[in-house]
């Protein structure tokens, strides 16, 4: 019987250890934090670039240089900021 009890306590200790480990891995959010940091920067720039390219193409189509490129540059900037806000919201939801 002593053996059995011994086994039980050892099992309990091992299980506790496992639980602690899993909590630790959950808290180990450093990696995804860094991933998020990388994400935010490019998200902001990409929308501006895409907006400007769309403006450039439309300008060539409608012969309205340089008005549409200016307009779409600003729209792209707004879209970029909106993207960043979306990503940040998603980051907060996770926590």
């Amino acid at each position: 019987m002593a053996d059995f009890n011994d086994f039980k306590t050892r099992l309990k200790i091992a299980k506790d250890k496992l639980r602690n480990n899993s909590i630790n891995t959950n808290n180990n959010g450093n990696n995804s934090f860094m991933g998020n940091a990388f994400k935010l920067g490019t998200e902001l720039v990409a929308a501006v670039v895409v907006g400007t390219i769309i403006g450039f193409i439309l300008d060539n189509w409608f012969d309205t240089k340089p008005w549409l490129i200016i307009l779409f540059f600003f729209l792209g900037s707004i879209a970029g900021i909106l993207n960043v806000i979306k990503v940040a919201k998603r980051m907060q939801e996770k926590d």
Binding site: K39, V45, G76, A79
Partner: protein, 244 residues
């Protein structure tokens, strides 16, 4: 010439020149390292799944860890509806991860440090996600561009902004991976060049920097593969579970 930090990104031909209909299809060092990573992935997964032991050996453990990692990621970010797309995201993650990691070996070539590769993958994902969205929701998918609760006056403006933000997805996805890989490898090479030019006396500082950067680069290589896969999951989630 060897200390030129951009020299490592040059693509050159290996073997004979192959031209089909005016398109250069020769086998390059880039193709060679894509082939290497494909072989490494297939090899590890083949060895890992050859015999299913109760107590896994190293390869089985690694394969199971990869499987669990991706399965959990898809489940957490895109829900159970995304299960059929598991093979695609798994291969995508493994390919990017192995290309990044093989690029960390000395004298090797980093496939993902060329924007054409990352842009191709990103555009494929973008088109696939759009097609999936239209297949699942029909023209209701266009609701993605019309957020609810917006005044009518602002609606055209918001729609244009949403479309730009949607179109910026492949750009941000590809530029992120490419820029991180290229910047990291350039930095490693620059610090390596400092070691040589400063010699025995002053070379120790850049050498220690170089060691630290190598560790950072391995982290970045994993992280970028992870970010690439998780963003694909997020886009897939938008297409499968329409919300706004």
């Amino acid at each position: 010439m060897v200390t030129n930090p951009m020299h490592q990104f040059e693509v050159h031909r290996i073997g004979p020149e192959i031209k089909i209909a005016g398109v250069d299809l020769s086998f390059t060092n880039s193709s060679l390292f894509m082939f290497f990573s494909a072989v490494a992935i297939c090899g590890i997964l083949f060895l890992g799944t050859k015999e299913k032991k109760l107590i896994p050996d190293k390869f089985q453990l690694i394969s199971e860890m990869f499987y669990n990692f991706i399965a959990k990621m898809i489940n957490d970010t895109a829900g159970s509806k995304a299960k059929p797309y598991f093979p695609f995201i798994f291969s995508l993650f493994m390919f990017v991860l192995f290309c990044n990691m093989l690029g960390m070996l000395p004298y090797s070539f980093t496939v993902t440090s060329h924007i054409i590769i990352t842009l191709l993958m990103a555009i494929f994902i973008f088109i696939a996600v759009t097609v999936i969205g239209f297949l699942k929701h029909g023209f209701g998918y266009l609701k993605l561009f019309v957020p609810s609760g917006v005044p009518i006056v602002l609606l055209p403006l918001i729609t244009i902004i949403e479309i730009i933000s949607y179109l910026s997805r492949p750009v941000s996805l590809s530029v992120r991976l490419f820029a991180n890989m290229m910047a990291g490898h350039t930095m490693l090479k620059v610090f390596g060049g400092f070691v040589i030019s400063l010699g025995m006396l002053g070379g120790w500082l850049p050498l220690s920097f170089s060691v630290a950067l190598t560790g950072l680069e391995i982290l970045v290589a994993f992280l970028q593969a992870y970010v690439f896969a998780i963003l694909t999951c997020i886009y897939l989630n938008d297409a499968l579970n329409l919300q706004h």
